[in-house]
């Protein structure tokens, strides 16, 4: 028969089976209560706990069994309080079993105790429970799985986590319900939990080295972390209070934090730097001929005769502009391509075909439009049988600037459309950011109207269909602006 053996000054020592032996606590607490043993007489400890037992020489208490000749007192406890205690018992502080028993004891004569948040015992219990809820929440949040393999159609994942309290078993159902479709193992110092698709199991604790230190996806996760951060709003306090530094060592993304902060200032400066409203036009230009040509034919003939034109890498053939001698709209491209060079006409290659289509869709009549290029000859590199387009340099563009200027003077259009950076540079004498200037009617030094947009060959170079669609729509919009302006 179980006897009360707390003979040393009425002290009872209860040894629970483990740190998470909540059932054991409940059992013992009920029986202590029924035997009327006050909290001050009881010490609680846990089997195998390193810091317990050695100094305490009292024999383990053998619990008072239900004494048949004493009517057992019913234990009264509200559901709310019980669930609060259940939570708080997972706390790592050794005094929790004691505290919980004291509250249970006091609640027998003070049934409303748990509703009084100002009571010191309840305050502590609430604090413990809150710490547990937070710890559980952080574990839900900060566990990071790493994939270790695939087998039998299921993926396998492992994680290492260091909770503050004895919560590992308590979080297992959460992870099961969330990651049902994969196998996983979570190792913590105190315990490990695992799921294989059929059952949850609990095992002994482990150490960090038990878990693989890498997963390929982590690089992408870090990429995400670095890019979702807005350097214009640094709030470290908020970050650290929600993601305390003690967790950082097990979070693959946290190693980026110092460098992200370091770069934040520079990145913001780059974001806010408005390039000064630069002067768009620079009308300094060589004037190679004293007499201005009187017609386009004369102009091209003069140009053909000149010996100083850049010839290295250039085809000999001069490609003239095409269209009526007088036109409302003039379109300037970059330079003739392979096909244009062979046929001697501008805009007959793939980019030209795209331009044709766009002009037709925008309601612009190509026959009524004067088409030409900023550089009048084809620049290329020979690769086997193919001649690969090469972008003209600034000197080459500048060489032809005066000639383009004469074309404009002779054709006298209401609007000049520059396609791409080379044409824009030719017209303005400066490097131009197309994205910034496109689609607007600009006036040059002479008061002539200019509209800048992209070159159709840019549209052809966009690798994916969606991008092409969008860019084409934008190109169309610019052409429509041009059409409306000259009409």
């Amino acid at each position: 028969m179980n006897m009360v053996t707390g003979d040393i000054q009425g002290a009872y020592r209860i040894t629970l089976a483990s740190e998470v032996d909540r059932d054991g606590w409940r059992d013992h607490a009920r029986r202590l209560l029924q035997a009327g043993i006050a909290p001050e007489q009881v010490t609680w400890t846990v089997e195998g706990r390193r810091d317990a037992g050695e100094l305490d020489l009292s024999p383990s208490a053998i619990l008072p069994a239900q004494n048949s000749d004493q009517p057992s007192r019913p234990v009264r406890i509200s559901k709310t309080l019980l669930s609060l205690i259940n939570t708080a018992l997972l706390h790592s502080n050794a005094d929790r079993f004691n505290l919980a028993y004291r509250i249970l004891w006091r609640a027998q004569s003070l049934p409303g105790l748990h509703r009084n948040p100002a009571d010191p015992d309840m305050l502590k219990l609430n604090r413990y429970a809150k710490a547990i809820r937070r710890d559980i929440h952080k574990m839900h949040a900060f566990v990071r799985f790493r994939k270790i393999g695939d087998s039998a159609g299921r993926e396998q994942f492992v994680a290492w986590f260091e909770p503050d309290h004895h919560i590992t078993e308590a979080v297992a159902p959460f992870f099961r319900n969330r990651f049902t479709g994969m196998d996983w193992l979570i190792v913590t110092p105190g315990a490990s939990i695992a799921w294989d698709g059929h059952k949850l199991s609990v095992g002994p604790g482990g150490c960090k080295d038990d878990v693989p230190q890498e997963d390929v996806i982590e690089a992408e996760w870090r990429t995400y972390y670095a890019n979702i951060f807005n350097p214009a709003r640094v709030k470290i306090g908020a970050m650290k209070s929600e993601m305390p530094m003690k967790y950082w060592k097990n979070l693959p993304e946290a190693e980026l934090i110092p460098s992200l902060l370091e770069q934040a200032g520079t990145r913001v400066d780059a974001m806010t730097a408005h390039t000064p409203e630069d002067v768009l036009f620079d009308d300094k230009m060589d004037k190679p001929a004293a007499n201005l040509p009187a017609s386009l034919d004369q102009l091209y003939a003069l140009l053909e005769q000149r010996a100083d034109a850049p010839m290295e890498k250039f085809s000999d053939r001069l490609v003239r502009g095409s269209g009526p001698d007088r036109a409302d709209l003039m379109i300037i491209g970059e330079q003739p391509g392979d096909q244009e060079d062979r046929e001697g006409k501008p805009f007959v290659g793939p980019a030209g075909q795209l331009l044709d289509r766009a002009l037709a869709e925008a309601g612009i009549d190509r026959q009524q439009t004067f088409l030409t290029n900023a550089v009048k000859r084809f620049k290329y590199t020979q690769r086997g049988k193919r001649r690969l387009h090469e972008t003209p340099n600034v000197g080459e563009i500048n060489y032809y600037r005066w000639w383009v200027e004469q074309e404009i003077r002779l054709v006298d259009p209401g609007l000049v459309v520059a396609l791409g950076a080379t044409a824009a540079r030719s017209l303005t004498g400066r490097p131009v950011k197309i994205a910034r200037r496109r689609g607007e009617i600009l006036a040059d030094a002479e008061g002539r109207s200019i509209l800048i947009t992209v070159h159709p060959s840019y549209l052809l170079r966009i690798p994916d269909e969606q991008g092409r669609q969008v860019e084409y729509a934008k190109f169309m919009r610019d052409l429509q602006v041009a059409r409306d302006f000259v009409n």
Partner: protein, 413 residues
């Protein structure tokens, strides 16, 4: 032609999404995979899986499907005239990325939005297809928030609601005139009509679920919107009035405020400076007062001046200082509504006071135990053993109560 990797696309399309403030993953149905055998669960409060150094929670994989866009909204980094690097995910890439991240417990789910490509309908179809594949093909039970496109066919909206936990349509700016000026392709009326439509569907589906558990779900996490602060001249009064109207008319769960962020290569029609982040913060506080503390816009604005909230102190304190005659409040006698008006006292604190005072008249020591910071509320209350005396009349109360300058450096001491 060089193909860009999934990781490169991720860099571009996460960067493009960071201007969206919402990352909430709460308030949907409880769902788990135990029955379906799939992956993913939702329930109650969402989980923040990480925090960025900007203090924001990272809960969802927040990305754009593509940052190509036909539209040209001036405040937006993805506008067609901006020369940012562009990229586009395929539907399957987004599905895979979401699952890869989710299975490693990085995220609660997906928040997907997109620039408008080809047409509003086409874009919306793609977004819906991502959600459909996740739910139907992969039995994904995590959170899905889709940004919907007001210009798209209402039928697509309906489909989106079947798969998503939350839908949102951004109102963008506080008034239609600013929308017309800064987002020329958008139409304030159309946005509000779509929002109304969305609100109606959410409400109807909720009502049907009440009568039958089998009724189909429609965005059980409700709908929300975002307003950009500081891109136009609207003052705080205007913004709060707009929000108040949105909550009232369309049953929105949340209005998010996003301080306009200067973007690279921005239009000269926009301010070069971001509004102080504090302004955004004060608006959130004021929004809170509207929704949970029974304040009206007019009352809140009493604490500000010239239509702007006070940046130095929070709006509740600002209101209280303008209404000193209503204080001090007796902690042991006042009703809940009155207690909620005490600066520095939140909903939780009020709840605890109401409970604790049933046991005994509260003294300062009791308050110290149950409130976060008693010092802040002292000038406004009386307890069994405390009266603030003439404090309330003193002129320097404002200076005494304003917060100390914030400490920002991470690695100090």
């Amino acid at each position: 032609m060089s193909k860009i990797s999934r990781s490169d696309k991720l860099a571009i399309l996460a960067d493009a999404a960071k201007y969206d403030a919402s990352c909430a993953s709460s308030g949907s149905v409880n769902r788990n995979s135990a029955k379906s055998g799939g992956i993913g669960s939702t329930g109650g409060m969402g989980i923040c899986h990480s925090y960025a150094p900007d203090g924001r929670c990272i809960s969802l994989l927040k990305i754009l499907m593509t940052n190509y866009c036909m539209f040209d909204c001036l405040y937006c980094i993805n506008r067609s005239s901006s020369n940012v690097r562009r990229a586009a995910f395929t539907v399957q890439e987004i599905v895979d990325l979401t699952l890869d991240f989710y299975k490693r417990n990085y995220i609660e789910g997906l928040f997907l939005s997109s620039g408008i490509i080809r047409s509003p309908d086409y874009t919306m179809e793609q977004l819906v297809e991502v959600a459909r594949r996740l739910r139907v093909v992969h039995r994904f039970g995590g959170y899905i928030h889709l940004k919907t496109i007001p210009e798209a066919d209402p039928d697509l909206l309906k489909q989106a609601g079947q798969y998503a936990d939350r839908l949102s349509i951004n109102i963008e700016l506080p008034d239609d005139e600013s929308i017309a000026r800064l987002a020329p392709e958008k139409d304030g009326k159309l946005i509000r009509r779509s929002m109304n439509n969305l609100g109606k569907k959410v409400r109807e589906a909720k009502a049907e679920r009440k009568s039958s558990r089998k009724a189909p779900l429609f965005a059980p996490g409700g709908h929300s919107t975002q307003m950009i602060i500081g891109a136009d001249a609207s003052d705080d009064a205007k913004i709060l009035t707009t929000s108040n109207g949105l909550y009232g008319s369309y049953g929105l769960k949340r209005v998010y405020y996003s301080a306009f962020s200067p973007i690279p290569d921005s239009s000269s029609n926009l301010p070069a400076q971001a509004p102080p982040l504090l302004r955004e913060h004060r608006l959130y506080q004021a929004d809170w007062l509207l929704r949970f503390y029974g304040f009206s816009v007019d009352e809140i604005m009493q604490g500000g001046s010239a239509g702007q909230l006070d940046l130095t102190i929070d709006p509740k304190l600002a209101w209280a200082l303008q209404n000193r005659a209503r204080f001090p409040v007796n902690i042991n006698l006042a009703d809940r509504e009155i207690l909620l008006r005490i600066p520095g006292l939140g909903g939780k604190g009020v709840g605890k006071i109401l409970q604790a005072r049933r046991f005994s008249a509260l003294r300062l020591a009791d308050l110290e135990r149950i409130c976060q910071s008693v010092k802040k509320i002292l000038p406004f209350i009386t307890t069994a053993d405390w009266h603030p005396g003439k404090q309330l009349d003193s002129l320097n109360l404002y200076d005494r109560l304003k917060p100390p300058p914030e400490q920002l450096s991470l690695f100090e001491a």
